[in-house]
């Protein structure tokens, strides 16, 4: 596990990625901005939602896939908006068909439309079905270390606890739980949801997370493309800070950085 943590690359379900920042593709002004922000973020894995196609739309209307070709990015279809295991499984089976047998998916089952808090009971039952069905499941969950471990035991390929609620931008509210999850996990741990600014992303990485998944923090920034670049640097800085190992905290040290000898008297 320690060797794995030292690896430069993030490996998920047997595939390695040099970027540890995963981004969503929602809430942007248009597809041009989506593409520009994703390019600035350096992300290789992008989440997409599965929705009913507009019937009767103009034939030439552009689609997300034209701006983010699946050959260039690893698509991570999600189950956003699903409130039951059945709906989530159904959505991802459609996604697999849509993306030519693509197996890597993001499972999220929500429990409450007001807070978007995950329903971990439904999440666990969906994860069991999906893993058995051959999917590589990256699973969004609460920051409960016991649930995170159970999802790993079921066979999920990555566990993605929230930092705070989806779209809240509240940052990392329980670093202690995240640390326990990271310490116990033998699969990648990614913070998903709640990151609000580059500082939050850096803190997540300094805690030892393997990566961060975000959407709103970039898309809802005043300048999404600039924020995407900031996030890329924060993820890299946080990772290096984690690997470098921080100095121990002391209330005081009596050990100044400048020499204590040779002072003019």
């Amino acid at each position: 596990m320690i060797i794995d943590k030292m690896n430069k690359q993030l490996t998920i379900a047997g595939k390695s990625y040099h970027s540890r920042l995963l981004v969503g593709t929602g809430k942007y002004k248009d597809f041009t901005e989506t593409r520009a922000a994703i390019d600035a973020s350096g992300a290789q894995i992008v989440t997409v939602a599965i929705r009913r196609t507009n019937i009767g739309q103009t034939a030439g209307e552009p689609s997300l896939l034209e701006y983010l070709p699946p050959e260039e990015f690893t698509y991570l279809p999600n189950t956003a908006g699903c409130y039951s295991a059945d709906d989530a499984v159904r959505t991802l089976r459609l996604a697999r068909e849509l993306l030519d047998g693509h197996k890597l998916v993001k499972l999220e089952v929500l429990g409450d439309p007001k807070t978007l808090y995950p329903n971990v009971i439904e999440t666990i039952s969906a994860a069991k079905i999906l893993v058995k069905d051959g999917f590589d499941v990256m699973v969004y969950t609460s920051d409960d270390p016991i649930i995170a471990k159970q999802l790993e035991d079921i066979g999920c390929c990555a566990v993605m606890p929230l930092a705070s609620l989806i779209g809240s931008g509240m940052g990392i509210l329980n670093p202690w739980n995240l640390q326990i999850i990271i310490e116990n996990a033998k699969i990648p741990v990614l913070v998903d949801a709640g990151v609000g600014c580059a500082g939050d992303a850096a803190i997540a990485m300094e805690l030892g997370c393997d990566g961060v998944l975000m959407n709103t923090a970039i898309a809802a920034a005043r300048d999404p493309v600039m924020m995407a670049g900031a996030m890329k640097k924060a993820i890299e800085a946080g990772r290096e800070s984690y690997l470098a190992g921080r100095m121990p905290k002391k209330l005081y040290s009596a050990s100044p950085s400048s020499p204590t000898t040779g002072l003019i008297t």
Binding site: R51, Y75, R90
Partner: protein, 76 residues
Amino acid sequence: MVSSKISTYMKISVNGNLKQLDGEIVTISALIVTLNLTGKRLAIEKNGEIVPRSQFNEVSVREGDQLEIVGAVGGG
């Protein structure tokens, strides 16, 4: 005399909306053309079962069928 050309139609549900189509039977491929979705990347469920893209030419749609046609959109 009754004309030899009897006009028939069927009603199906597409993404929750009722659609009336000419004829009694149509393949998924033909339906995609009718709905102006040619060339779009999509996945289709008929009466709760996924129809693999390889079978769009063979699988048919009849009166009362319920179809879900989905695609990938921006999301987090």
